[in-house]
């Protein structure tokens, strides 16, 4: 766990020059390693340059930890190569599946939280951490479907996985907000239930309403500024557990680097205020 990191930004290719030149103290960047799983060329050179100037986080979207099969060995090798080369401050993945029977589906797919899934995810994280020789953080995904078959609540499930595999948690507060809206539970209660000692990183992002179903179905679209309700969850969390590395994510309708930095500074303000307070139990 790296608690010395402050607020960071998801790095978009169109912002490479701004990111490289930015001298904001403590600023770090996060990328999806899948976009850098190449043999060579300018992409890796760009990332090398960024890494020379700022700490880096590798946030995987495709290890498919919630599949009924082991993580793809070639994918894990490529991830390990990136971890070895770029020495990221943080490495994270999702409680989701995407690769299954030799085909990759570019999404974070859900599965019923069963005893079988628990065993499988713990084993898959163990395999990944052994290969990467480091602890990873596991992110709570956004939910759009109600399952009758869940045997565990999500926080209970994540905590059990973390305790057994030794992984940390990446708490995505926008995902909590979107899921609580879509499935009808209390987001603040969810956030309050997450043990602070397990949280290695926090994600903040924007969401949007489904064009057909409106506010009843929120989409984790990363195409808007962080919503006020998500900022409120963030302040609540940080007041309870203290500062954690916090990322602003934006993937669609990407604004200027300066606009994203303004959100980053807002998160930094929350962290700085919390750092001045004695950490709560």
């Amino acid at each position: 766990m790296n608690r010395s990191l402050a607020a960071g930004l998801g790095l978009k290719p169109q912002h490479f020059d701004d990111a490289l030149a930015c001298a904001a103290p403590g600023l770090w960047f996060e990328v999806h390693p899948e976009n850098y799983m190449v043999a060579g060329g300018p992409r890796l050179a760009w990332l090398e340059a960024i890494r020379g100037a700022h700490p880096l986080s590798l946030h995987g979207v495709a290890l498919s930890l919630a599949s009924a099969e082991e993580p793809d060995a070639r994918h894990l090798d490529r991830l390990a190569a990136l971890v070895g080369r770029f020495e990221p401050a943080l490495v994270s993945e999702h409680l989701a599946w995407s690769t299954w029977r030799g085909a990759y589906r570019p999404d974070l797919l859900p599965a019923p939280r069963s005893r079988e899934l628990l065993e499988r995810v713990v084993a898959n994280i163990g395999r990944a951490q052994d290969r990467l020789r480091r602890r990873i953080a596991l992110e709570n995904p956004s939910h759009y479907l109600a399952f009758d078959e869940h045997e565990f609540g999500e926080v209970e499930f994540l905590v059990e996985i973390a305790r057994r595999s030794g992984c940390a948690l990446l708490l995505d507060l926008n995902n909590v907000f979107v899921s609580s809206n879509n499935l009808g539970y209390d987001a603040a209660r969810y956030v309050d239930a997450v043990p602070g000692d397990l949280v290695a990183e926090v994600h903040l992002a924007g969401h949007s309403e489904d064009p057909q179903h409106g506010a009843a179905l929120l989409i984790d679209s990363h195409d808007a500024p962080v919503a006020d309700a998500v900022w409120a969850l963030y302040e609540r969390l940080v007041a309870r557990i203290g500062p954690r590395p916090t990322l602003i994510e934006r993937d669609e309708q990407v604004p200027s680097f300066d606009q994203l930095m303004a959100e980053c500074r807002r998160a930094q303000g929350v962290l700085t205020a919390a750092a001045a307070m004695p950490e709560a139990a």
Binding site: E34, A68, H75, Y104, P106, F147, E149, L217
Partner: protein, 262 residues
Amino acid sequence: MTSGGLATFQDAFARALLAVDPAAGGDEAIRRLAAQPGFAVYRNTVLKGCIDALQANYPAVTRLVGEQWFRAAAAVFARGALPAHPALLDYGAGFAEFLESFAPAAELPYLADVARLERLWGEAHVAADAPLLDPAVLARLGPRQMTQARLVPHPAARWRWFGQAPIHTIWSRNRACDGGSGEFDWRGEGVLLSRPSGEVLQRPLEQAGTAFLDACAGGQSVHDAVIAALDVDGSADFSALVTTLLAAGAFGALERRDHEET
């Protein structure tokens, strides 16, 4: 968990993601999920992810046919060929062949070759880094050593002769936003892509040049590669050709086969 277990669930869920009617499958649990509005979010996201990746990898094809047409065609391709792995920069092998047999694309017979050239650009973009062959190494060889040696193409070098249409011109005009203008000289064209430093560079290459590089890549000696080049163009200027290829960064190494020195 349902009686079928996680693997059974994933099989049924994966099938329903791409099915015309996701609620029509035999699995009761999947039918209940597919009946919820949220199931469409996963269906849309998976397909959008594939289409976005193809559009990013085939910008000139997109510009030629328009975004709407491209995305509709890409959806058909994606439903038949999901990515084999998550590095989506590599997604779309087989897209050119798909376009070749895609009936709505029949009016644009050159489209598949433009896609082939985009694919080559993508390969050059992500190929391994390696030093370029120093022309001085070649200059130090005697004529006999030279003809017996083998020129090894650089890992990022890609080339192809397109005999039917000016594919390089069509591609480069539609790849760059400035487009370019002027009449097309409707004849075959060859192209060389290389990455001597940083970004991928492109230049036209005559058929003799592509034949020469094909022979080099096939492990043939300089002598045999020259024969291959002369076979397609008896008037090819071998010395100028090699100078051009060296300057463009087409070669990564030279293997001597005269056994005189290491």
